[in-house]
């Protein structure tokens, strides 16, 4: 059974990986929440802002990508 062979350290690494991506996703969500509100306001004023607005919305997604990179690196150490 795979579960039995896992050490405490590996478990902690797994939790760390989860936290890395989870917290990063929360950060991205918080940032996007405000950007999306502003972008929707801008679009209702001028529908031409749609393209630019969409671009601004994805800006904070970098955070979650960094989270993923860290998570992958941690998971690599478990193996």
């Amino acid at each position: 059974m795979a579960v039995e062979t896992l050490t405490t350290g590996a478990g902690l690494l797994g939790i760390g990986a989860g936290l890395a991506i989870g917290l990063a996703a929360i950060g991205t969500g918080l940032a996007q929440q405000q950007i999306i509100a502003a972008v929707l306001g801008a679009i209702s004023e001028d529908p031409k802002m749609f393209g630019k607005g969409l671009f601004f919305i994805v800006l904070p997604e970098t955070l979650v990508i960094f989270g993923l990179v860290i998570a992958l690196m941690l998971m690599g150490n478990i193996g």
Partner: protein, 611 residues
């Protein structure tokens, strides 16, 4: 290609007698970006004599178009007879205004009748008739709503009145008749009970029973509505008959009016006019030749040297196949005249990044077909769809490399995305390192040319020293190369010192940014993985349903379709936005500032875009 078109600044002096012909030719040529003349030693040139006529005709045409609600659209080219324009427009305007007047009259009548019907409803409720409200010498009357308890207050001051009441939500409707002598006192009570009067003016003077009056008003409404439908039909006929002619006239007048008013941007003396304009250098000869011809030799040209501070308009100069990608450059900001035009680089890397993320043969094929059809349907968005079509092809090529079709691994590709995550990440980071450093090198070249080598070294090359230092440190500390870490520290230190010299001490906090920008390219792997995992999950779910029994097969097919369509929608949106972002944020910031003004030659209409 990598630079906007070269421009020349031309000074043109001509005889006023040929102004008409010269402006007309300038408008047709569409190659001169006119610089507005500022009033100074020489005044402004007067507009052409035809200016007033065309302006007023244009206003008239636009008002008819707005009355008729003609929608802009593609129209067939028509020949406009300038001499009978007034007559044509007057005739159409009269027909339109007549139809509108009938429409308005009937609409007013309908409103009035509806108002009376409302009043009649209230009166019926209170069991009174309009006749009860005729003006009497001794009696005064009110009709409206009051708060409950009104009659109690009223009785305190008089009992000499007649009241009809009916409940109305929280309040009470009343029709009250009383002695004119007590009017003020009663109104005081009414005020205290928040009386709000109904306007019965429209029904005043009417005689007869409510039923009869209602029938009369309903008949009026029906007549008015029939008339309104008729007028609408007339307007509709006018719209189909004259719509495209009006749009054609509007375009013709816009052109004529612009031609008549362009001399306002010129300077003038008594007998001559002069103008300054930017013309693409390769078209200067043609402009001179053409204008000389229409001016019958009464024209003189002088080329002026461009100065450094001058804001020269920018005309992007890319081969036809790459023109579509100018869309992205414009979306960010046009380059300045002396700047590097990044369109060519984007045309290469955008589809590459897109394909790397959405690498699936079937997805690529489906998006290719969808965007191809959309391009036919919306010609205005041609540029944008061309980019996406190119990207779909890239998607198919990468799909073949990964061996992926709808998330299934049909053949063993060079990279298996679900297993080789770290390889994907390494490729993404290498792509990032290449693009970021390419940006730095281009920036270095531009700064070198503009401000000299020292500035280029401090501002741009310092970053490359820092990067090389960091890589050496990583390799030496991990014993990948037989080198003491001190070498890495020295290179890193030189980079930091150069940076501080160029940008000041605060630049130290910026040092991680170059690495952050490179790591940011990991999104190429991340977005791709998200896409492939969604596809795999959809497939797993479908096969689970498929094996559950014959009854579940239709559900499995629906799940497969919806799942993959959702993934395709997400798969187009996300990779394109992230690919654009990598260019704008990570790449452009190294060498590009933008802010150029668009080359807008006289006579060229503004291009329409979809976003």
């Amino acid at each position: 290609m990598l630079r906007p078109s070269r421009m020349s600044r031309l000074f043109v002096l001509g005889a006023k007698s040929r102004l008409d012909h010269i402006t007309k030719r300038l408008q047709e040529l569409k190659i001169a970006h006119i610089i507005e003349h500022r009033k100074g030693e020489y005044g402004l040139c007067d507009p052409l004599k035809t200016s007033d006529r065309y302006s007023s005709l244009l206003v008239k045409t636009r008002s008819i178009i707005s009355y008729l609600k003609v929608l802009p659209g593609k129209i067939h080219k028509r020949d406009i007879d300038d001499e009978i324009l007034e007559d044509t427009l007057d005739k159409i305007q009269k027909q339109v205004l007549d139809a509108l007047a009938v429409l308005k009259k009937n609409s007013d009548q309908e409103q009035q009748a509806k108002l009376i019907l409302n009043i009649l409803d209230v009166m019926e409720d209170l069991k009174v008739t309009p006749g009860d409200f005729r003006k009497l010498e001794r009696i005064t009357s009110w009709i409206g709503e009051v708060d409950s308890g009104f009659e109690h207050h009223l009785r305190k001051i008089t009992t000499d009145y007649l009241i009809r009441t009916a409940p109305s939500k929280q309040r009470i409707r009343i029709a009250l008749f009383a002695d004119r002598d007590r009017k003020d006192e009663i109104e005081h009570v009414l005020l205290r009970c928040n009386f709000s009067a109904f306007d019965v003016e429209a029904a005043r003077g009417m005689e007869g029973s409510i039923r009869l009056l209602r029938k009369q008003e309903e008949a009026k409404i029906s007549v008015a509505q029939t008339q309104m439908v008729k007028s609408d039909r007339v307007l509709e006929q006018l719209r189909t008959r004259h719509g495209s002619l009006l749009v054609a006239i509007e375009e013709y007048l816009e052109k004529k009016s612009a031609q008549a008013q362009i001399p306002l941007s010129f300077g003038a003396t008594e007998e001559t006019f002069f103008l300054e304009c930017y013309v693409p250098t390769d078209r200067v000869k043609r402009l001179k030749w053409e204008l000389d011809l229409v001016a019958e030799g009464k024209i003189h040209f002088k080329e002026k040297k461009l100065t450094k501070d001058e804001e020269v308009p920018v005309e992007l100069n890319n081969p036809k196949g790459l023109k579509s990608f100018e869309f992205f450059t414009r979306l960010y900001s046009l380059p300045k005249y002396d700047e590097f035009d990044p369109t060519l680089l984007m045309a290469f890397t955008f589809p590459l990044f897109f394909g790397f993320m959405l690498g699936d043969v079937a997805y690529g094929l489906i998006t290719f077909i969808i965007f191809f059809m959309l391009r036919q349907k919306f010609p205005a968005g041609r540029q944008f769809f061309n980019i996406l079509i190119t990207s779909s092809v890239a998607s198919m090529i990468f799909g073949a490399l990964y061996g992926e079709v709808l998330g299934y691994e049909l053949w063993h590709g060079l990279i298996v995305r679900t297993h080789d995550v770290m390889i994907l990440m390494e490729i993404a980071l290498v792509a990032g390192a290449i693009q970021v450093n390419l940006g730095l090198l281009i920036g270095c070249y531009l700064v070198w040319k503009e401000h000299g080598f020292a500035h280029a070294l401090y501002e741009k090359l310092s970053w490359i020293f820092i990067e090389v230092g960091a890589v050496l440190l990583y390799l030496s500390y991990n014993n990948y190369i037989p080198l003491l870490p001190v070498a890495g520290w020295i290179v890193f230190g030189i980079g930091v010192l150069l940076l501080i010299k160029g940008e000041g001490f605060t630049a130290i906090i910026e040092i991680p940014s170059v690495f952050v920008h490179i790591v940011s390219y990991a999104r190429l792997m991340a977005v791709g993985l998200a896409s492939v995992y969604i596809a795999v999950m959809v497939n797993l779910f479908t096969s689970f349903l498929w094996h559950k029994g014959v009854l579940f097969i239709p559900i499995a097919i629906i799940a497969l379709l919806i799942g993959h369509l959702f993934n395709i929608a997400l798969g187009v949106l996300s990779p394109s936005l992230h690919a654009i972002r990598l260019h704008y944020v990570e790449f452009f910031t190294k060498f590009y500032s933008g802010g150029g003004i668009e080359f807008a030659p006289f006579g060229k209409e503004k291009e329409k875009s979809i976003i």
